[in-house]
Symmetry: C2
Subunit: 235 residues, 2 copies
């Protein structure tokens, strides 16, 4: 399987391109608006047939590249979880749904908590955890119907029950780390290696500033990053 | 095999940690001074026995973490190529030399051109190319005994002769890409998919500004990043 992790430096966001090297069918997880041309170039060079744009959640820190990517690849289908409030995805996914590309399939794991509609994606020893589980951290739970209790339950019941060797690929990292493992996060994640009560207390006392881009990102992402349509609606 | 790619945001430098998960023996390629504590923490958490610190070359854009890392891990051996001018490495490597960690061995490939002592490291379908070959680019050749002709010969004779599927892990990327393949760089590298004469012409006309940190980095890296010793020598 072809695998590429790609980074958006401004927002410290990772996108992931996966493809079946035989059939050339491909998926792209969490593409970023500002990086669509970079990603398109790579997809074209590799001769890939982009089948799905999978989102882990409605992002609050950057605008998704879905709409712009669909201009370049009109046949690609965008996939957002069913309760996300998104108004334009091609497919509203459900828990445990599989998406196939070539010989591979990737499974939706409902992991609410950072937002109420967060999912992770599992495929062959790798899990893409979005903002649910970060390397030695996790997404905040103080907006977008976030819930520390739900996040704790999601991580412990859906992610920490995967094999210890499963590689974790998050949606962000702010320290230059690119991956982790279930084993490591179980043991060394300073928020999640404790009990639920303590986790809830930690999350309640983070006192984080509001994300810089939330006011533009969330409304735009509900419309699949279609900024033109958003501005039109304003007029 | 445990594999971790790690990023230094300030200098866009990648470091690579590889380990045998059974024996816990590990190597670290191109560690960065400012990231030594991050890297040490991960090595400690994973219970690794750090055996070698491998350098791809005498860097001009950042200071190596070798000396600081050796304070934390006194038994680790630093490895620099034999003609690099380095004055303090534990091992001065030669072309085709293997370094073993657990069940694995990684091979030195002499690939001069960016500097006269650049090497790449090959192990099981992956090649760590330092600044010799970057993703859709290559290191500059206008200082530290650089030579466009040598770089072209190194890439075409030592790297492009590896299997097409070999994954390329460079020492830097400035566009958020984390890896490539020999196949891709043969076809799509805009400098190196041409003939030697054209490559030499391209490299002669880059007109790049001098690296910001070269005056402090090169003398410090010749001393394995031992800044204290460097400052002492000045006095």
């Amino acid at each position: 399987m072809l695998f590429r992790q790609m980074y958006d430096n401004e927002t410290s966001t990772y996108s992931y391109l996966l493809a079946d090297e035989k059939t050339k069918e491909a998926i792209l997880i969490d593409c970023v608006l500002e990086q669509v041309e970079r990603d398109k170039k790579l997809i074209d060079e590799l001769g890939l047939n982009l089948k799905y744009l999978l989102e882990t959640h409605i992002h609050a820190d950057h605008i998704t590249g879905i709409s712009k990517m669909k201009e370049f690849f009109p046949l690609v289908k965008s996939v957002v979880f069913n309760n996300s409030g998104n108004m334009c995805a091609d497919i509203f996914s459900i828990d445990n749904q599989d998406f196939c590309f070539g010989e591979y399939k990737i499974k939706v794991l409902s992991t609410p908590g950072h937002t109420n509609s967060c999912v992770s994606y599992y495929i062959e020893g790798m899990v893409f955890t979005g903002d649910t589980l970060l390397i030695r951290g996790c997404g905040r739970t103080d907006f977008q119907s976030g819930s520390a209790e739900k996040l704790y339950n999601s991580v412990t019941s859906r992610l920490f029950t995967l094999p210890d060797s499963t590689i974790i690929y998050p949606a962000h990292d702010y320290h230059g780390m690119t991956s982790s493992s279930v084993y490591e996060e179980k043991i060394f994640n300073p928020r999640l290696n404790k009990g639920k009560e303590e986790f809830i207390k930690i999350m309640a006392n983070l006192n984080l500033p509001y994300p810089k881009k939330i006011k533009e990102s969330v409304p735009a992402n509900i419309l699949c990053g279609n900024i033109a349509s958003k501005n039109k609606n304003k007029v």
